[in-house]
Symmetry: C2
Subunit: 358 residues, 2 copies
DNA sequence: CGACGCTTTCAAACCGCTTTGATTACTTCG
DNA sequence: CGAAGTAATCAAAGCGGTTTGAAAGCGTCG
């Protein structure tokens, strides 16, 4: 059943039927109702492809995912997609994902733009200096960056305050009496990891603690990365008394290493981690396992998709940005360090300290 | 630059240009070469929407993801997508993902089919009895199921041998001298979990071990699920000496609980898990952490996408199926149990036993 | 009563590509 | 030399919608 047939069955022209279904005012209320009823009865759904050709709107948002040794398709991406998908389906958009070899990424954006397959794209995992912003600017394709990058042009983005989050996380550990704090960061060519490192270094600097390059690591955020790095550090002559991790996954690895060394998490060694609030790693409960800087990547996906749709539909200007502050969650993974001011802290039960502070 | 303009600039008709670009033989070799060169020079890319309308082929595969309390978008889905995406981009297909409220799932398939937005779909996470097979059969939309279901009609599917995998895993533990083996399964309304449970029960039955419902659990495969369930069991009067887990994520939780109870993984308590070979949880190395039944979900995604494309393009008949056997990986998480025949096993170094057997 | 304005409907053009069914130019053969 | 066959090209008709511009129907007013 297509539009022409539906129109014929109603004794109307395709024009009128089309208008009736799209809610244009030129059609009388009575006819409109009749058309809508008939459409529902026959189970008529307009052919999306024809509609797109006629309107020039793809009603789709693209996500280009380069595949390289450092895989972008990870659980964080999955949660982001889940959030974005909610916004898309509410607004009637489709989500188009292209998994392409890294070297074809630029070509992939060009193809999406010239073939008009999508109305806009979301840029994932921006590097500290990311060429994609310029590509997209040149192509005239609307886009929003999940994160930020140090491009010349102003561009639309949404990010969490990574620098501030890690500054505060580091402060927390320093206040607890920690001085040797290891940083297990993500890949520092990525903007988010770069900013987190600056936050960490700033906090150490402000406290007059010398920055030790031997305590800073940067890698893909896997569990074994956390485990192996922590093992190596804990067995070293001068082990850190605290760890700061960029992902709960890595933090789990660290915690495994702590156990393996016969130490107690939150007593002998403290850990603070960023928590993307991933579905399969809920860090919740009365007193969550990990003290963390928490921000739902799923919520971010939902919001960014909405921002992009607003921009495409002209409800928002390009060049907007949002910066979310993270939530600080007190968990069981932190305790007083070797330079603690008030030693009685150590006797205090962790669950009595449970609280949230932003 | 569209086809008409390109044709005009060459002094040819759109017909000839279209044929030249699509490699039809009716056009002379010389003209064809000239057209291809001009197209490249002008950066001409055919409008995908117009092409789709004209050919009736969407050149897209759909993935409908219902969102419910039991979230389908999880790291396993992400890895699957990564694999499928490879096949799609090689074959020139797009991947369309619809995240919809669970109650709109049926409507979503209908819309995809009638709007001709996709040429086929992949069905994820089939339940033991799944209504979607019938829906899709009725809609006439080509599809392949990742997993299986007990539907009446034969349908195309690709699955791993879940029953056999868990049968063998259970056998392994029994052979090591374990009798009380806890099963931390996924949701048993899902087909894969149902089959795993049967494999587990069959193996116990064959060994003459009474099945204890108090040792069988079914839930979403999160880390805390593993931790809490294992804690509870290990503190019970009759703790199990071994665990069988459906996911490495859950296995990590179990291992955390074992440490928390002051026990040693692979010595005091054994764990075997299924391993989907997720990117951020590599269970590799000379002697991997966990003894596991391993099968890359990413490889499955790649293969299933290929099967579906073959079916759509008429290279394969519908109704085909593939059953993959899993690989058994010997890791550090298993050791002799309380009923071990040869006690000297306990002294053996795990890494000396390292081997693979299928 | 005819001109006018307003609402409602429609025929036809269009979006950019593919494909069918000519048409033309050039060989080949009886 | 004309008929027939073949290769190369093209005009036009789709695909299934939207949208423009015109027309029809109807009540109102001078």
């Amino acid at each position: 059943m297509n539009l022409k047939e539906l129109a014929a069955s109603l004794g109307l022209s395709p024009t009128t039927v089309s208008r009736a279904l799209n809610g244009y005012p030129e059609v009388s209320a009575a006819t409109a109702a009749r058309v809508v009823a008939a459409a529902r009865e026959h189970g008529y759904v307009p052919n999306s492809v024809a509609k797109r050709l006629a309107t020039g709107r793809a009603m789709a948002i693209g996500h280009v995912v380069p595949q390289s040794e450092h895989d972008m398709i990870n659980p964080i991406f999955a949660d982001f997609i889940a959030g974005a998908g909610e916004s898309y389906s509410q607004a009637g958009y489709n989500m188009l994902i292209s998994v392409v070899p890294a070297e074809e990424e630029a070509a992939s954006y060009t193809a999406l733009a010239t073939a008009r397959s999508v109305d806009g794209v979301i840029v994932h995992g921006p590097a500290a200096q990311d060429p994609r912003i310029e590509w997209l600017e040149d192509l005239g394709l609307p886009f929003i960056v999940h994160g930020r990058t140090a491009g010349r042009q102003p561009h639309s983005w949404m990010d969490i305050n990574n620098r501030r989050a890690f500054h505060k996380a580091t402060d927390l550990l320093i206040d607890l009496g920690h001085r040797r704090i290891a940083l297990l960061n993500g890949l520092e060519r990525m903007d988010f990891a770069h900013r987190r490192r600056i936050g960490y270094e700033d906090a150490l600097g402000a406290a007059g603690i010398t920055i030790d390059p031997g305590l800073m690591f940067s890698a893909d955020m896997t569990e074994p990365y956390g485990f192996q790095t922590a093992m190596q550090l804990l067995k070293s002559p001068e082990p850190p008394s605290a760890f700061l991790a960029s992902s709960l996954i890595t933090a789990l690895g660290i915690s495994r290493a702590i156990s393996a060394c016969g130490l107690k998490l939150g007593q002998d060694v403290s850990v603070v981690t960023h928590d993307d609030a991933l579905w399969f790693l809920p860090n919740q409960g009365e007193v969550p396992m990990f003290t963390s800087t928490k921000s739902s990547v799923r919520a971010a996906g939902k919001r960014i998709a909405q921002m992009l749709i607003d921009q495409i539909e002209g409800r928002a200007e390009p060049g907007v940005s949002e910066l979310w502050e993270v939530e600080m969650i007190q968990g069981q993974s932190t305790g007083p360090g070797p330079f603690s001011q008030n030693k009685e802290h150590g006797l205090e039960q962790p669950h009595l300290r449970a609280q949230r502070f932003s």
